[in-house]
Symmetry: C2
Subunit: 497 residues, 2 copies
């Protein structure tokens, strides 16, 4: 174990994008502040341990390595120097103040299930692991809201809510922490009906880079709507830890639907499956989930989750509501599916069967990795207008085949969001080629009126695509905001911007 | 008509709130920049006329007076010096650049239907009226989105969408411009099912205070979800023209529901009506509209709109969906209403009857003003957690009666948002007393976990309440953002912050 924290290395992320107009000074300032401050911490570990207790600080090699990466293909360049587990907002604030005083970079860490390198470690940094802040604080069932600490995971929250007949539907697959989900702007399979984190976060408590504590909508505030001043809640949702550390989130929750019913149906072609989705949405059917799996994904899922679905382009669907409304939805969807040559329409209304189906869908990441044991996985994340989806998916399949990748494709197609999961060799140039593919696909999505990321965030891997997507003026406004709130560039530096 | 524009008076809005910590410098800078720049424009009118054409510029007394106010109780202190009607984004950008060069304040103006003084004129300012930018630009029915210029009103958009079987449900009552609605973070009667502008704006084109053109989600981008960098769209929605001028909005639209059905039912007490709402929501019924009217509001509406509803606390409800799903919703709601002693459950399923009902609801502002001819109206706008609503409404009625106001109460109670409409004498101290009441009510809402404004915005009247609601740290972050984006403080200065 290190006796003293070595924190002298510098943050070296420098603005490389041409600026223009009056915005230029801010980019220069951001760049300057991030390279000129030299940390001279001696004894930071002791100061931090005095705040959180020595059992909540570690500089061991194994712990640092564990906090150097997420589940993405990004290869950690280095580990944080120190990992800290605060147990309260006040502890987070005090640790942040120490880091600020020493110009020490901070990387907030949840469950480490991110897919874009958002929590990747860097040398000279302090990693703040929020998983010991895992209490459900205030549940207001009659107001449909709950306030949680950031380390509560979505499954833990739903376990807590179950007895009250409530649930939190945002479901990115992994059992991510709610702080991490808010920071990433996560969504997942239920977004088509319930929206993303953006639509379901009512208020956030955030420790800012100077240690002060912000309540984005005011302390204790939890109205269903609000037009009081600038929307700080939405600014912090999706900011990926670069503006502050989320220490509490007030979330919208929902009554458990009277009934839930799932179905699987397969199609002759990718196009027929995706066209069915477009038509279902155009009929205004309030479907809760509508997920696409290409035949490779179905095959991987069958093997990994011991299922027996026909190996063909497939939709997983789910309906929530009253029995009568579900019945009428099912009828219309059945007609649309039949019109597109869909078959094998299999229904699951028992919770056990539904859970098996969605567990299999959620496990697609691990199922795909299992196709090529020992491989490294990369998930793309473009989201395009629904009308563009068939073309974009088909062109993408051409690319994948031409470039010789092993892959599966799954998609939250009700939102126009789909993922190519690439299984890459850990050695050789496959990772490089996959990054190239990510950029080709990202640019295709952007030029189709879409985005390079629907729910995984920018992290480390899509910074160039973000610049192309939002343009010079947009990126400079983002940089100005970053510089204004985090002038020392200590908060998860080098990510997003 | 003025021959030369007199633009030498200064913006005098100075930060008066105590700052703390490291945030203080920004507040100082904001304050400094807004008092030290002296405009020395000579011939700005000619320069602007050269851009937009002389027929699109006016400095006439009548036009300036018309642009000095909105529909609120706020009494204009002065008029803008010049009113300009640009017809394109490029013209807006060029006019803004001239104003920036001369440090001239700009007030964006839509239909002037705001209720918080957000467009109130100030001497030495240029008012940019956006109503000549009124084209529906791109309609993508299969993607459920449309891009409009800011001067398109919600009724004009819905007229355009009708032939395509689509609609835009956000409905604040007034036929407001969509640019104004986005700038205010408007919502209205349909928010309980469809959300507010915040949830329905996909992208904005904004002319920034330096004249550059921002696309908040990237140019031409219109995916259904997005986690690419900071959420600039949500930052500009609800910024009330203080960060830039919205010149295009890409909006989410919806397929017309298969069926819509409205109902009216009355109750013995306010509490019984409001409790019914809470129970309907707790049953997870996807109701589209659920509006409360106190007996005074029902009486005013009966008289103004020639209706015959029982004069008692009343709910107006609306259901959207398939026939089967509506039928099942109606059954459950009927049971709840009966349990709370509701009666006179009258249904309207013909479009004509529905339109009459909702037209009456929308006209409540004018119906209330008509109760006291020649009066000035003030609408409060608090929004509280639903569980707090019965208590907050009852305590508020006590205040209204104790303070001797003439009033009606209506509410988007499905969101916890309600309005007290006060009818005040234009002379005497009633306006002063009403402002005092607004602050009592705002503080009551804030302490109940709510907000001082659910949908009208801060404008001029709630700046002190905003400070109390979001606290020192929140208000300072907002000021920092304002200063960063608008360092000269020329964009609708003195509003919100």
């Amino acid at each position: 174990m290190m006796s003293l924290l070595v924190l002298s290395r510098l943050i070296t992320s420098v603005c490389r994008v041409p600026c223009h107009g009056g915005l230029c000074n801010f980019a220069r300032a951001l760049s300057a502040s991030s390279v000129t401050n030299k940390s001279t911490v001696v004894g930071a570990q002791e100061s931090i341990a005095a705040i959180v207790g020595s059992q909540n600080v570690s500089a061991s090699e194994a712990v640092r390595e564990q906090h150097s990466h997420d589940e993405s293909y990004h290869i950690p360049v280095s580990s944080p120097d120190l990992v800290v587990w605060p147990r309260s907002t006040e502890e987070v604030s005090q640790v942040v103040q120490i880091c600020r005083d020493h110009h020490t970079p901070i990387v907030p860490f949840g469950t480490g299930t991110g897919l874009e390198g958002g929590v990747l470690g860097q040398s000279g940094s302090v990693c703040i692991n929020l998983t010991k802040m895992d209490e459900v604080l205030d549940l207001h069932t009659e107001d449909f809201d709950v306030t949680v600490q950031p380390g509560v995971t979505r499954l833990a929250l739903n376990h807590h809510l179950k007895d009250h007949g409530m649930w939190f539907p945002i479901d990115p697959g992994a059992d991510a922490s709610l702080g991490g989900m808010a920071a990433t702007g996560a969504s997942g399979t239920n977004a088509v009906q319930y929206g993303t984190m953006k639509e379901n976060v009512i208020n956030l408590e955030v420790v800012l880079p100077d240690g002060s504590i912000l309540h984005t909508a005011g302390e204790g505030s939890r109205p269903r709507k609000n037009s009081a001043g600038y929307n700080l809640t939405s600014l912090f949702v999706g900011s990926e830890g670069t503006l502050g550390i989320i220490t509490k989130a007030t979330l919208r929750i929902y009554g458990m639907p009277e009934m839930m019913m799932s179905a699987v149906c397969s199609f002759e072609t990718v196009n027929a499956a995706v066209e069915s989705v477009t038509q279902v949405l155009q009929c205004g059917i309030p479907i809760a989930r509508i997920e696409f799996l290409d035949e490779k994904a179905v095959d991987a899922t069958n093997k990994y989750s011991n299922l027996n679905n026909k190996v063909a382009p497939t939709l997983f669907l789910e309906f929530h509501g009253s029995e009568a409304s579900i019945k009428s939805q099912i009828e219309t969807v059945g007609d649309i599916v039949a019109m597109n040559g869909g078959s094998n329409f299999e229904w699951a209304d028992k919770m056990e069967d539904r859970n098996k189906l969605w567990k299999a869908r959620h496990d697609i990441w691990y199922a795909s990795l299992a196709v090529r044991p020992g491989c490294k996985g990369l998930s793309t994340d473009v989201c395009v207008p629904i009308s563009q989806m068939p073309r974009v998916i088909l062109e993408t399949i051409d690319d994948l085949q031409r470039m010789g990748f092993m892959y599966t494709i799954v998609g939250h197609v009700g939102d126009g969001n789909f993922h190519c999961l690439l299984m890459m060799d850990r050695e050789g140039d496959e990772i490089k080629k996959a990054k190239e593919f990510t950029h080709i696909l990202g640019r295709r999505a952007i030029s189709a009126g879409g985005t390079c990321t629907g729910e995984h965030g920018i992290g480390l891997g899509k910074k160039q695509l973000l610049i192309e997507e939002v343009g010079d003026v947009g990126i400079n406004i983002m940089r100005q905001i970053k510089h204004t709130i985090d002038p020392l560039n200590i908060m998860n530096p080098g990510k997003v911007l």
